[in-house]
């Protein structure tokens, strides 16, 4: 097992997440794509912590990332619910709040 395999998998997951982040029109799917991005970063941290650092500091950072991701999911879904209640749609193309 090599470090490069894990890094390549994380890069692939990151690219898939970016594709979904830009192209999806459902607002909940955008949040799911953000979770994919955070998981890719977590996998990178884990791989570096296992192969380059004997002190397991990368795992500490990944626990922080998991915590922030949970908070982000809660706040993001609350915002999506509030916008849905006001606008009656979840199409990202019609969210022109805070645009200009």
């Amino acid at each position: 097992m090599q470090l490069e395999y894990f890094l390549l998998l994380a890069a692939a997951l990151f690219c898939i997440g970016i594709y979904g982040l830009i192209n999806s029109r459902n607002a909940v799917r955008v949040l799911m794509s953000i979770e994919l991005l955070l998981n890719a970063v977590n996998l990178n941290l884990m791989a570096f912590s296992n192969y380059l650092d004997a002190d397991a500091k990368g795992q500490v950072f990944s626990v922080f990332v998991i915590t922030i991701a949970a908070a982000e999911a809660a706040v993001g879904l609350a915002i999506v619910l509030a916008i849905y209640r006001n606008r009656d749609t979840i199409d990202m193309e019609q969210f022109n709040l805070l645009k200009w």
Binding site: A11, I18, M32
Partner: protein, 204 residues
Amino acid sequence: MNLAEGVQLVSFGILVATTIAASLGVVLLENIVYSAFLLGGVFISMAGLYLLLNADFVAAAQILVYVGAVNVLIIFAIMLVNKTEVFKPMKNAWFRKGATALVCVGLFALLGTMIQSTSWAVLETIEPVSSTALRLGQHFFSDFLLPFELVSVLLLMAMVGAIILARREFIPDLDAEQEFVFTLPERPREPVGAIGEAPDDSDS
């Protein structure tokens, strides 16, 4: 990790296949409910990858937090936004999809060549940490004490903010002749059961 090399490689291959397939399903499938359940599959296979990387505590935390909390929250949100609306087609949507796919493939190629061409200073003698929970606790309470406390405060603030954002507004003036259905002090604007089958709602 004292598994054999072949066992590690085979399980890594299976986990990679499930991760990539499920994440492509999350992004590409039309039905959002399928996407949410496939997202759970991505999280579980990521936990398996963490186990391969000698991080058993974080793998357990991944399953608890992501599959148990975040994924359930997403499914709840999908069910609360229970409206299968057909999005209005946009002009030049194919161009945006194609350009995004091109950029993503290019980014992956760039990252791949960078990963392959860098000579990583991999430790020769990888000895796995004996008990990761103990080591993580030592880190949290010695040299990462301030971020740990800050994260706890931030989590509390985010939860309070999410509750305030998602709460329905209080409507003070109650109509006397209206049928009194809700006994909660916070009344929704419209009857909850009729959201899906409102007459002006075209196809739900």
